[in-house]
Amino acid sequence: MRRTVTVVAMPGLRLLFRFSPSGRSSATFVLTLILISLARSMAAQDTPLISGGIGFFTDTSAGQTSYLPIIEPLLAAPLGPRVLIESRAVLLESFDPNGGGMPGYNHSHFVGLTYLQGDVTLTSHITLVAGSYLIPFNTYNDRLSPIWIGNFQRGPLIANLGTESTGTGTGGMLSGSAVSRSKYSLSYNAYFSSLVNNSYFQARRSAGGRLSLFMPDHGLEVGFSYNRQLQGVKENFYGAYAWWGPANSGFQLRSEFASGRHAEGYWIETAYRTQAFGGFDSIVGRLEPVFRMQQTFRRDATASDGLPPVNTQIADFGLDYNLPHNTRILASYSREFASTGNFNIWQTGIVYRFLTPAWKGK
Protein backbone atom coordinates (compact mmCIF):
# COMPACT_ATOMS: atom_id res chain seq x y z
CA MET A 1 0.00 0.00 0.00
CA ARG A 2 1.42 3.36 -0.88
CA ARG A 3 0.05 6.81 -0.86
CA THR A 4 1.19 10.36 -0.62
CA VAL A 5 -0.81 12.62 1.59
CA THR A 6 -1.42 16.20 0.64
CA VAL A 7 -2.79 18.52 3.28
CA VAL A 8 -4.48 21.20 1.22
CA ALA A 9 -5.18 23.42 4.20
CA MET A 10 -1.48 23.77 4.94
CA PRO A 11 0.60 24.15 1.80
CA GLY A 12 3.77 24.57 3.76
CA LEU A 13 3.36 21.19 5.34
CA ARG A 14 2.23 19.36 2.27
CA LEU A 15 5.83 18.65 1.45
CA LEU A 16 6.28 16.58 4.51
CA PHE A 17 3.55 14.08 4.82
CA ARG A 18 3.87 10.61 3.48
CA PHE A 19 1.96 7.77 4.99
CA SER A 20 3.73 4.49 5.56
CA PRO A 21 2.18 1.17 6.48
CA SER A 22 2.72 0.62 10.19
CA GLY A 23 4.66 -2.63 9.70
CA ARG A 24 7.29 -0.99 7.55
CA SER A 25 7.43 1.98 9.86
CA SER A 26 8.26 -0.43 12.66
CA ALA A 27 11.12 -1.86 10.61
CA THR A 28 12.48 1.62 10.05
CA PHE A 29 12.13 2.40 13.73
CA VAL A 30 14.04 -0.75 14.67
CA LEU A 31 16.77 0.18 12.18
CA THR A 32 16.97 3.59 13.78
CA LEU A 33 17.31 2.03 17.24
CA ILE A 34 20.15 -0.14 15.96
CA LEU A 35 21.92 2.92 14.63
CA ILE A 36 21.49 4.62 18.00
CA SER A 37 22.92 1.58 19.74
CA LEU A 38 25.93 1.59 17.45
CA ALA A 39 26.51 5.19 18.34
CA ARG A 40 26.64 4.62 22.09
CA SER A 41 30.40 4.53 22.15
CA MET A 42 30.68 8.20 21.27
CA ALA A 43 32.57 10.75 23.28
CA ALA A 44 30.75 12.80 25.90
CA GLN A 45 29.76 15.64 23.57
CA ASP A 46 28.68 13.26 20.83
CA THR A 47 25.65 11.76 22.51
CA PRO A 48 22.82 11.26 20.00
CA LEU A 49 20.06 13.78 20.40
CA ILE A 50 16.34 13.82 20.06
CA SER A 51 14.81 17.13 19.09
CA GLY A 52 11.72 18.40 17.34
CA GLY A 53 8.46 20.15 17.93
CA ILE A 54 5.01 19.43 19.32
CA GLY A 55 2.27 21.69 18.08
CA PHE A 56 -1.43 22.29 17.97
CA PHE A 57 -2.79 24.38 15.12
CA THR A 58 -6.15 25.72 14.06
CA ASP A 59 -6.91 26.95 10.57
CA THR A 60 -10.11 28.73 9.57
CA SER A 61 -10.22 29.17 5.80
CA ALA A 62 -13.35 30.60 4.19
CA GLY A 63 -15.26 29.90 7.40
CA GLN A 64 -14.22 26.24 7.72
CA THR A 65 -12.08 25.40 10.74
CA SER A 66 -9.61 22.53 10.90
CA TYR A 67 -7.60 21.37 13.89
CA LEU A 68 -4.17 19.83 13.63
CA PRO A 69 -2.21 18.32 16.52
CA ILE A 70 1.23 17.43 15.24
CA ILE A 71 4.57 16.05 16.40
CA GLU A 72 7.78 16.40 14.40
CA PRO A 73 10.57 14.46 16.10
CA LEU A 74 14.15 14.72 14.89
CA LEU A 75 16.98 12.30 15.60
CA ALA A 76 20.69 12.98 15.07
CA ALA A 77 23.19 10.24 15.89
CA PRO A 78 26.94 10.50 15.23
CA LEU A 79 28.72 7.33 14.07
CA GLY A 80 32.38 8.06 14.62
CA PRO A 81 34.05 11.39 13.97
CA ARG A 82 32.94 11.77 10.34
CA VAL A 83 29.47 10.31 10.00
CA LEU A 84 26.15 11.63 11.25
CA ILE A 85 22.80 9.92 10.75
CA GLU A 86 19.83 12.25 10.96
CA SER A 87 16.14 11.91 10.36
CA ARG A 88 12.92 13.82 10.87
CA ALA A 89 9.46 12.34 11.03
CA VAL A 90 5.94 13.66 11.27
CA LEU A 91 2.94 12.32 13.17
CA LEU A 92 -0.33 14.20 12.96
CA GLU A 93 -4.05 13.92 13.34
CA SER A 94 -6.16 16.23 11.19
CA PHE A 95 -9.72 17.15 12.14
CA ASP A 96 -11.61 18.68 9.23
CA PRO A 97 -15.27 19.68 8.92
CA ASN A 98 -17.49 17.43 6.87
CA GLY A 99 -18.14 18.98 3.50
CA GLY A 100 -21.40 19.38 1.62
CA GLY A 101 -23.25 21.10 4.43
CA MET A 102 -23.01 18.06 6.69
CA PRO A 103 -22.43 18.82 10.38
CA GLY A 104 -19.54 17.41 12.37
CA TYR A 105 -15.92 16.57 11.65
CA ASN A 106 -13.97 13.75 10.14
CA HIS A 107 -10.39 13.01 11.02
CA SER A 108 -7.40 11.29 9.53
CA HIS A 109 -3.88 10.57 10.72
CA PHE A 110 -0.55 10.50 8.98
CA VAL A 111 2.81 9.09 9.96
CA GLY A 112 5.90 9.33 7.82
CA LEU A 113 9.57 10.13 7.57
CA THR A 114 10.34 13.55 6.18
CA TYR A 115 13.95 12.63 5.51
CA LEU A 116 16.59 10.10 6.54
CA GLN A 117 20.14 10.91 5.55
CA GLY A 118 23.73 10.15 6.35
CA ASP A 119 26.22 13.02 6.43
CA VAL A 120 29.84 12.08 5.75
CA THR A 121 32.46 14.76 6.31
CA LEU A 122 34.98 14.21 3.51
CA THR A 123 37.10 17.34 3.91
CA SER A 124 36.76 20.68 5.67
CA HIS A 125 34.93 21.96 2.58
CA ILE A 126 32.95 18.92 1.43
CA THR A 127 30.22 16.94 3.14
CA LEU A 128 28.60 14.05 1.32
CA VAL A 129 24.91 13.64 2.08
CA ALA A 130 23.40 10.31 1.08
CA GLY A 131 19.89 8.97 1.47
CA SER A 132 16.66 10.90 1.49
CA TYR A 133 17.37 14.60 1.95
CA LEU A 134 15.48 17.89 1.82
CA ILE A 135 16.00 19.52 -1.57
CA PRO A 136 18.00 22.73 -1.06
CA PHE A 137 16.06 24.96 -3.43
CA ASN A 138 15.93 28.53 -2.10
CA THR A 139 15.56 28.50 1.69
CA TYR A 140 12.10 27.50 2.84
CA ASN A 141 12.24 23.76 2.26
CA ASP A 142 15.40 22.86 4.13
CA ARG A 143 15.65 25.74 6.61
CA LEU A 144 12.22 27.04 7.54
CA SER A 145 9.80 24.13 7.15
CA PRO A 146 10.11 22.66 10.70
CA ILE A 147 7.10 23.67 12.76
CA TRP A 148 9.30 25.16 15.48
CA ILE A 149 11.02 27.54 13.08
CA GLY A 150 8.50 29.06 10.66
CA ASN A 151 6.95 32.40 11.56
CA PHE A 152 3.69 31.44 9.89
CA GLN A 153 1.78 28.20 10.14
CA ARG A 154 1.38 28.10 6.36
CA GLY A 155 4.33 27.86 4.08
CA PRO A 156 4.64 30.13 1.07
CA LEU A 157 2.73 29.30 -2.10
CA ILE A 158 5.90 28.86 -4.14
CA ALA A 159 7.34 26.25 -1.76
CA ASN A 160 6.56 23.54 -4.31
CA LEU A 161 8.51 25.17 -7.13
CA GLY A 162 11.90 23.52 -7.57
CA THR A 163 11.34 20.96 -4.83
CA GLU A 164 9.70 18.27 -6.97
CA SER A 165 6.44 18.58 -4.97
CA THR A 166 7.62 15.98 -2.42
CA GLY A 167 10.30 18.28 -0.98
CA THR A 168 12.78 15.43 -0.83
CA GLY A 169 15.33 13.91 -3.13
CA THR A 170 16.72 10.42 -2.78
CA GLY A 171 20.31 10.00 -3.85
CA GLY A 172 23.38 12.04 -3.08
CA MET A 173 24.37 15.60 -2.41
CA LEU A 174 27.61 17.45 -1.90
CA SER A 175 27.47 20.49 0.31
CA GLY A 176 29.75 22.66 2.35
CA SER A 177 31.48 25.95 2.80
CA ALA A 178 33.57 26.75 -0.29
CA VAL A 179 35.17 29.88 1.12
CA SER A 180 34.94 31.32 4.60
CA ARG A 181 36.44 34.68 5.50
CA SER A 182 35.58 37.12 8.27
CA LYS A 183 33.88 39.42 5.75
CA TYR A 184 32.07 36.84 3.65
CA SER A 185 31.44 33.17 3.15
CA LEU A 186 30.37 31.20 0.13
CA SER A 187 28.53 27.89 0.50
CA TYR A 188 27.16 25.43 -2.00
CA ASN A 189 24.93 22.38 -2.51
CA ALA A 190 24.85 20.12 -5.57
CA TYR A 191 22.61 17.07 -5.74
CA PHE A 192 21.22 14.30 -7.88
CA SER A 193 18.01 12.52 -7.04
CA SER A 194 16.89 9.26 -8.57
CA LEU A 195 13.33 8.10 -9.17
CA VAL A 196 12.05 6.29 -6.07
CA ASN A 197 8.52 5.00 -5.72
CA ASN A 198 8.63 3.06 -2.46
CA SER A 199 6.42 3.87 0.49
CA TYR A 200 8.96 5.79 2.52
CA PHE A 201 10.94 8.01 0.21
CA GLN A 202 9.07 9.01 -2.88
CA ALA A 203 11.28 11.13 -5.07
CA ARG A 204 11.62 12.16 -8.69
CA ARG A 205 14.69 12.07 -10.88
CA SER A 206 16.19 15.51 -10.76
CA ALA A 207 19.42 17.42 -10.33
CA GLY A 208 20.26 20.87 -9.11
CA GLY A 209 22.16 23.05 -6.73
CA ARG A 210 22.35 26.20 -4.68
CA LEU A 211 25.02 28.83 -4.21
CA SER A 212 24.87 31.21 -1.25
CA LEU A 213 26.89 34.28 -0.32
CA PHE A 214 26.74 35.56 3.26
CA MET A 215 28.21 38.86 4.43
CA PRO A 216 28.04 38.85 8.24
CA ASP A 217 28.96 42.52 8.75
CA HIS A 218 25.91 43.54 6.77
CA GLY A 219 23.69 40.68 7.91
CA LEU A 220 23.02 40.00 4.26
CA GLU A 221 22.68 36.66 2.53
CA VAL A 222 21.85 36.13 -1.12
CA GLY A 223 21.64 32.92 -3.08
CA PHE A 224 20.66 31.29 -6.33
CA SER A 225 19.09 27.90 -6.90
CA TYR A 226 18.59 25.67 -9.90
CA ASN A 227 16.63 22.49 -10.31
CA ARG A 228 16.03 20.37 -13.39
CA GLN A 229 13.38 17.72 -13.39
CA LEU A 230 14.71 14.78 -15.39
CA GLN A 231 11.54 12.79 -15.85
CA GLY A 232 8.05 13.43 -17.17
CA VAL A 233 7.79 17.09 -18.11
CA LYS A 234 11.48 17.97 -18.16
CA GLU A 235 11.38 21.36 -16.62
CA ASN A 236 13.90 23.88 -15.31
CA PHE A 237 13.31 25.83 -12.12
CA TYR A 238 15.26 28.90 -11.09
CA GLY A 239 15.26 30.52 -7.70
CA ALA A 240 16.82 33.48 -5.93
CA TYR A 241 16.61 34.64 -2.37
CA ALA A 242 17.78 37.46 -0.13
CA TRP A 243 17.82 37.62 3.65
CA TRP A 244 18.73 40.69 5.64
CA GLY A 245 19.04 40.96 9.40
CA PRO A 246 21.11 43.85 10.80
CA ALA A 247 23.01 42.78 13.92
CA ASN A 248 21.22 43.31 17.25
CA SER A 249 18.32 45.10 15.58
CA GLY A 250 15.65 42.43 16.09
CA PHE A 251 14.61 43.00 12.50
CA GLN A 252 14.60 40.29 9.89
CA LEU A 253 13.70 40.33 6.23
CA ARG A 254 13.45 37.20 4.14
CA SER A 255 12.44 36.93 0.52
CA GLU A 256 12.39 34.39 -2.25
CA PHE A 257 11.62 34.31 -5.95
CA ALA A 258 11.10 31.10 -7.93
CA SER A 259 10.30 30.52 -11.55
CA GLY A 260 9.29 27.47 -13.57
CA ARG A 261 8.09 26.92 -17.11
CA HIS A 262 4.42 27.27 -16.21
CA ALA A 263 4.37 29.56 -13.20
CA GLU A 264 6.43 31.80 -11.00
CA GLY A 265 6.07 33.72 -7.78
CA TYR A 266 7.70 35.39 -4.82
CA TRP A 267 7.26 36.02 -1.12
CA ILE A 268 8.72 38.63 1.15
CA GLU A 269 8.50 38.41 4.94
CA THR A 270 9.48 40.75 7.74
CA ALA A 271 9.67 40.11 11.47
CA TYR A 272 10.60 42.40 14.32
CA ARG A 273 11.31 42.10 18.04
CA THR A 274 12.06 45.18 20.08
CA GLN A 275 14.66 45.55 22.84
CA ALA A 276 13.31 48.93 23.93
CA PHE A 277 11.30 47.62 26.88
CA GLY A 278 13.78 45.49 28.78
CA GLY A 279 15.35 43.44 26.01
CA PHE A 280 14.23 40.49 23.94
CA ASP A 281 13.29 38.48 27.03
CA SER A 282 10.88 41.05 28.43
CA ILE A 283 7.14 40.65 28.00
CA VAL A 284 7.09 43.15 25.14
CA GLY A 285 10.36 41.92 23.67
CA ARG A 286 8.90 38.46 23.26
CA LEU A 287 6.22 39.81 20.94
CA GLU A 288 7.06 39.39 17.27
CA PRO A 289 4.87 41.07 14.67
CA VAL A 290 5.36 39.42 11.28
CA PHE A 291 4.16 40.30 7.82
CA ARG A 292 4.36 38.41 4.56
CA MET A 293 3.31 39.31 1.05
CA GLN A 294 3.24 36.71 -1.68
CA GLN A 295 2.13 36.51 -5.27
CA THR A 296 2.04 33.75 -7.85
CA PHE A 297 1.66 34.18 -11.59
CA ARG A 298 0.54 31.41 -13.88
CA ARG A 299 1.95 31.50 -17.39
CA ASP A 300 -0.29 28.80 -18.85
CA ALA A 301 -2.97 26.35 -17.84
CA THR A 302 -0.56 23.42 -17.39
CA ALA A 303 -0.65 23.10 -13.62
CA SER A 304 2.22 20.67 -13.10
CA ASP A 305 3.93 22.46 -10.26
CA GLY A 306 1.51 22.70 -7.33
CA LEU A 307 0.90 26.43 -7.61
CA PRO A 308 -2.66 27.79 -7.72
CA PRO A 309 -4.33 27.48 -11.14
CA VAL A 310 -4.89 31.26 -11.33
CA ASN A 311 -2.85 34.28 -10.33
CA THR A 312 -3.04 34.60 -6.56
CA GLN A 313 -2.03 37.19 -3.99
CA ILE A 314 -1.95 36.70 -0.23
CA ALA A 315 -1.19 39.22 2.49
CA ASP A 316 -0.38 37.61 5.85
CA PHE A 317 -0.41 39.58 9.10
CA GLY A 318 0.88 37.67 12.09
CA LEU A 319 1.65 38.18 15.76
CA ASP A 320 3.93 35.57 17.31
CA TYR A 321 4.82 35.33 20.95
CA ASN A 322 8.09 33.72 22.02
CA LEU A 323 7.37 32.20 25.39
CA PRO A 324 10.10 30.97 27.70
CA HIS A 325 11.00 27.30 27.61
CA ASN A 326 11.18 27.07 23.81
CA THR A 327 7.49 27.63 23.25
CA ARG A 328 5.98 29.85 20.55
CA ILE A 329 2.48 31.02 19.87
CA LEU A 330 1.62 31.79 16.27
CA ALA A 331 -1.45 33.80 15.33
CA SER A 332 -2.19 35.24 11.93
CA TYR A 333 -4.82 36.69 9.66
CA SER A 334 -4.46 36.36 5.90
CA ARG A 335 -6.49 37.59 2.99
CA GLU A 336 -6.25 35.68 -0.25
CA PHE A 337 -7.10 37.40 -3.52
CA ALA A 338 -7.72 35.40 -6.70
CA SER A 339 -10.07 35.49 -9.65
CA THR A 340 -11.71 32.35 -8.26
CA GLY A 341 -12.69 34.25 -5.11
CA ASN A 342 -11.32 36.16 -2.15
CA PHE A 343 -11.41 34.79 1.37
CA ASN A 344 -9.99 35.15 4.86
CA ILE A 345 -7.68 32.74 6.64
CA TRP A 346 -7.37 32.83 10.43
CA GLN A 347 -4.74 30.68 12.07
CA THR A 348 -3.61 30.07 15.62
CA GLY A 349 -1.14 27.62 17.03
CA ILE A 350 1.23 26.80 19.82
CA VAL A 351 4.53 24.96 19.34
CA TYR A 352 6.91 23.54 21.92
CA ARG A 353 10.41 22.77 20.76
CA PHE A 354 12.36 20.07 22.63
CA LEU A 355 16.04 19.18 22.53
CA THR A 356 17.47 16.44 24.71
CA PRO A 357 20.13 13.72 24.72
CA ALA A 358 18.89 10.30 23.62
CA TRP A 359 20.20 9.06 26.95
CA LYS A 360 22.03 10.47 29.93
CA GLY A 361 25.52 11.43 28.85
CA LYS A 362 28.74 11.02 30.79
Binding site: A76, P78, S124, W148, S175, D281, H325, T348, L355, G361
Partner: protein
Protein backbone atom coordinates in the same frame (compact mmCIF):
# COMPACT_ATOMS: atom_id res chain seq x y z
CA UNK B 1 -14.27 33.98 11.90
CA UNK B 2 -16.33 32.18 14.49
CA UNK B 3 -16.54 34.23 17.77
CA UNK B 4 -15.61 31.08 19.69
CA UNK B 5 -12.32 30.92 17.85
CA UNK B 6 -11.62 34.58 18.52
CA UNK B 7 -12.28 34.04 22.23
CA UNK B 8 -10.09 30.94 22.18
CA UNK B 9 -7.25 32.88 20.57
CA UNK B 10 -7.53 35.75 23.04
CA UNK B 11 -7.60 33.34 25.99
CA UNK B 12 -4.57 31.49 24.62
CA UNK B 13 -2.62 34.73 24.15
CA UNK B 14 -3.60 36.08 27.58
CA UNK B 15 -2.62 32.94 29.43
CA UNK B 16 0.65 32.86 27.53
CA UNK B 17 1.49 36.43 28.49
CA UNK B 18 0.69 35.59 32.11
CA UNK B 19 2.90 32.51 31.91
CA UNK B 20 5.70 34.53 30.39
CA UNK B 21 5.46 37.09 33.18
CA UNK B 22 5.55 34.38 35.83
CA UNK B 23 8.48 32.65 34.22
CA UNK B 24 10.37 35.87 33.64
CA UNK B 25 10.08 36.66 37.33
CA UNK B 26 11.45 33.25 38.25
CA UNK B 27 14.33 33.18 35.77
CA UNK B 28 17.36 31.49 37.32
CA UNK B 29 20.34 33.58 38.20
CA UNK B 30 23.35 33.19 35.90
CA UNK B 31 24.90 30.91 38.50
CA UNK B 32 21.81 28.72 38.56
CA UNK B 33 21.53 28.79 34.80
CA UNK B 34 25.10 27.72 34.37
CA UNK B 35 24.14 24.15 35.16
CA UNK B 36 21.90 23.92 32.13
CA UNK B 37 23.66 26.11 29.60
CA UNK B 38 27.37 25.59 29.22
CA UNK B 39 27.75 28.89 27.43
CA UNK B 40 27.22 30.65 30.73
CA UNK B 41 30.86 29.87 31.66
CA UNK B 42 32.49 31.48 28.66
CA UNK B 43 35.23 34.06 28.86
CA UNK B 44 34.64 37.40 27.11
CA UNK B 45 36.90 36.51 24.18
CA UNK B 46 35.23 33.17 23.60
CA UNK B 47 31.85 34.80 23.91
CA UNK B 48 32.78 37.43 21.37
CA UNK B 49 33.72 34.97 18.65
CA UNK B 50 31.31 32.20 19.57
CA UNK B 51 28.26 34.34 20.20
CA UNK B 52 28.93 36.35 17.05
CA UNK B 53 29.08 33.18 14.97
CA UNK B 54 26.00 31.87 16.73
CA UNK B 55 24.10 35.07 15.96
CA UNK B 56 25.27 35.15 12.38
CA UNK B 57 24.64 31.53 11.50
CA UNK B 58 22.13 29.97 13.89
CA UNK B 59 19.88 32.87 14.86
CA UNK B 60 19.30 33.75 11.23
CA UNK B 61 16.82 30.86 11.05
CA UNK B 62 15.62 30.11 14.56
CA UNK B 63 15.54 31.19 18.18
CA UNK B 64 18.31 29.82 20.34
CA UNK B 65 17.19 26.87 22.43
CA UNK B 66 17.14 27.78 26.12
CA UNK B 67 19.95 25.55 27.23
CA UNK B 68 20.80 21.97 26.48
CA UNK B 69 23.02 19.28 27.88
CA UNK B 70 26.76 19.65 27.13
CA UNK B 71 26.72 15.98 26.18
CA UNK B 72 24.99 16.82 22.87
CA UNK B 73 26.78 20.04 21.97
CA UNK B 74 28.96 18.43 19.31
CA UNK B 75 26.00 16.52 17.87
CA UNK B 76 24.03 19.78 17.64
CA UNK B 77 26.94 21.39 15.83
CA UNK B 78 27.38 18.52 13.40
CA UNK B 79 23.68 18.55 12.62
CA UNK B 80 23.61 22.30 12.08
CA UNK B 81 26.87 22.46 10.16
CA UNK B 82 25.17 20.61 7.31
CA UNK B 83 22.12 22.89 7.39
CA UNK B 84 24.12 26.10 7.69
CA UNK B 85 27.28 24.98 5.81
CA UNK B 86 29.47 25.99 8.73
CA UNK B 87 33.19 26.18 8.11
CA UNK B 88 35.58 24.17 10.29
CA UNK B 89 36.78 27.37 11.96
CA UNK B 90 33.23 28.43 12.83
CA UNK B 91 32.43 24.97 14.16
CA UNK B 92 35.48 25.07 16.40
CA UNK B 93 34.57 28.53 17.75
CA UNK B 94 30.98 27.48 18.35
CA UNK B 95 32.04 24.32 20.15
CA UNK B 96 34.31 26.38 22.42
CA UNK B 97 31.42 28.78 22.97
CA UNK B 98 29.08 25.96 23.96
CA UNK B 99 31.71 24.00 25.93
CA UNK B 100 34.30 26.46 27.23
Amino acid sequence: MNPKHILFSIALLSSSVALAQTTTQTQPTPKQASNSHPAAHVTPKQEDAGSRIFRQNCSRCHNAPEGFSPSISDTVLRHMSVRASLSMRDKAELLRFLNP
